[in-house]
Amino acid sequence: MSLSKVKFDKKIVLSFWIILIALIIAAPTLLPVFRLNLLGRYLSLSIVALGVDLIWGYTGLLSLGQGIFFALGGYCAAMYLQITSSSEFPNNIPEFFALYGVEKLPFFWEPFRSPVFTFFAIWIIPALVAGLIGFLVFRNRIKGVYFSILTQASLLVFFNFFNGQQKLINGTNGLKTDVTQLFGQMVGSEFMQRIFFWITAILVIAAWFFAKWVVKGRFGNILIGIRDDEPRVRFTGYNPVIFKTIIFSIAGGLAGISGALYTVQSGIVSPQFMTVPFSIEMVIWVAVGGRGTLLGAILGAVFINYAKSLVSEALPASWMFIQGGLFILVVTALPEGVLGWIQGDGPRNLLQRFGLKRKIETYPSLEVNNKEGNNE
């Protein structure tokens, strides 16, 4: 995989940012609410994709259980919203409890009365759970496909737990948020959705810079080292367990933020967020966008989901075929993803094939874009 970057002109970068910010500010007025809401949701999904890129693209850990942390973040947000808007229901507890004859709030709901606690819980709880799962797995040097299987199994465990506990968290029905109140406003209202869109857009950019900062410097180098040759990193005197646990819980925290944003924009959180297919889908966003490229993860998440909604509206049955084909195509033909292909030798090779650009042949090979120095 090539990490070499095409260097852009400063003016281009500046104009890119100006256009981007202008689009974000203008989007709520340009798009109808339905499309704006969809865009906001996909943008929030790109935050979880960033986490997947950090652990898979950079560290080589393929987690099939990011849905756990995504849903945990969503549940944290939804529990706060449910509690704060339950004053007119019997016993001052959320409405659904009455269905199951529960009269007292379960103990773990209590802290969610506080907005400050919720604000931190949204990302700290998923990060802690991820850290715990990660530590238990990494400590035993379980890796590769074993790690993937175990994350998938834990996903199923969480799904079963949340799906089966009606009396604690409304089980399979999930928690609704669109009719709840936040700071005196209805969460599902147009005004709030617009605010959420802006928050999401800002957080995506913040998460992107955060991820860039994480993979920069020595910490990032060790992550890439773990991906490429873990025993060698260990023999050099580093303890991969610590680095893997840290990056896994960072990815978990990002997934939590993403889940909370997705929940308030889609109006409900339910165990469906923890199904097996959804978590594997997150991987394919990153794979198509280009793993190890961060920006690729964001673009992949937004574009694939947009394509999904377009295709599903037109031909509902064909999306599964397309998605399955994408999985096969991207690992066999395009292992670096679209962005990786553009940044690597892809376009040059294509131009050469059509005879538009002459191939440079020297020995030793000329370092056109410093490819060898970086990795492999």
Binding site: G164, M320, Q323, G324, V331
Partner: protein
């Protein structure tokens, strides 16, 4: 005592389904280090094969043999899933050896396609497609060696594929015209009814056991014995074991690892098909039937360790018995007056889904002590 026996039998019944499903997975994973996420869908193909066989045996010509359809379908399911597996290996998995994570993603893509395939293609034509694949893949290998070595062999191959395609279309339309249930695509679940001799119950030591469950145990037993004999007694079995132990060295000694890979993958997939027959006896068959079992199978493989069938057997029966003990809350009936906090905990986990939660926790705890499963492969490599 009776309760214990009941629990043991239930556990063995659950475990034998797990075992027959995980057997193929364990062999493929042990040999190639490949995680086949489409394994559940190969099981689903086996289950659908049972359904199709059952309907075909209802035709007037085959009606007298109706009671034996389940035996026939076991062989057919093995062949159908095996052929699809071989095709999968030849087209996709072969390109991805050495990158297990990529294989995992690619096989997930295959599983999505297979699921949607049974939803949107009529089963009759699906059968036709499988038949043409079967002929196209195996007809060229039956030619005499004189033709095989000739330079024009590719034309023979090509013409046999054309023949295969024609036969497939013909059988497809034949089946769809004679069995109306198979002529339309539907995403609805279908039901396999057991033949009359398999309905009802058998009484063993005072407890009644359903015959279908016994049948599944028998299928599992036969599969395990057959695969053990194959691996330990036949020449190809020896080659498979050699490649499992050391791929490069076997390659150097003249074993065609390519052929070994195909055979192993074919057998592993075929066993998934047999598991599909077993699953079809337990409940209705739908496009998602494989997904319910796949994670359990992975747990068996992780717990049992790679490259040892004994580990797979013990792990699946262990998980089966634990599932029954926890899920049905039997511990409580065995020990009725246990302290309250303990009994509350047990009651909390006494549903099928919560039992899974508990079992996973137990497996993770177990892996803290034995990270490579019950029977790990010995070696001095840095990796693995």
């Amino acid at each position: 005592m009776e309760l214990l026996l009941d629990s043991l039998f239930n556990g063995v019944a659950i475990g034998s389904v797990l075992l027959v499903a995980a057997l193929g997975l364990a062999i493929v994973f042990g040999l190639m280090g490949v995680i086949n996420l489409a394994h559940g869908e190969l099981m689903m193909l086996g289950a659908y094969t049972t359904y199709v066989t059952q309907l075909i045996f209802k035709l007037p010509i085959l009606k007298p043999f109706y009671n034996s359809y389940i035996i026939v379908s076991i062989f057919l399911a093995f062949i159908v899933s095996g052929v699809v597996g071989i095709l999968l290996e030849k087209t996709i998995i072969r390109k991805l050896y050495g990158s297990p994570l990529e294989t995992l993603l690619a096989t997930w893509g295959v599983s999505l396609i297979l699921q949607q395939f049974v939803r949107s293609v009529p089963l009759a034509y699906g059968t036709g497609l499988v038949i043409s694949l079967l002929i196209g893949l195996f007809l060229p290998t039956t030619f005499p060696s004189k033709i095989k070595e000739s330079i024009n062999f590719k034309y023979f191959k090509f013409s046999s594929w054309i023949f295969a395609a024609l036969t497939g279309v013909l059988t497809g339309s034949l089946i769809s015209s004679s069995v109306s249930k198979l002529s339309r695509a539907s995403a609805r679940n279908v039901d396999v009814t057991a033949p009359s001799w398999m309905r009802g119950q058998v009484e063993i030591i005072g407890t009644a056991f359903p015959k279908t469950r016994l049948m599944i145990i028998v299928i599992t037993l036969i599969s395990v014995i057959a695969i053990t004999l194959f691996l330990n007694q036949s020449a190809w079995g020896m080659r498979i074991r050699a490649v499992t132990q050391n791929r490069q060295m076997s390659d150097c000694l003249g074993i065609s690892t390519e052929k070994v890979d195909i055979i192993t993958f074919g057998i592993g997939s075929g066993l998934a098909g047999v598991a599909g027959v077993a699953v079809s006896l337990l409940g209705s068959v739908g496009p998602n039937v494989g997904g319910n079992y796949i994670v359990g199978c992975f747990m068996v493989v992780v717990l049992g360790g790679v490259g040892n069938l004994l580990g797979t057997v013990l792990a699946s029966f262990g998980i089966g018995i634990m599932t029954d003990l926890i899920g049905a809350g039997r511990l409580l009936s065995i020990w009725p007056d246990m302290p309250l906090p303990l009994s509350n905990t047990i009651n909390f986990f006494a549903t099928t889904s919560m039992a899974r939660v508990m079992i996973f926790a137990l497996i993770v705890m177990f892996l803290q002590f034995k990270p490579t499963g019950l029977f790990p492969q010995k070696g001095r490599m840095v990796e693995n």
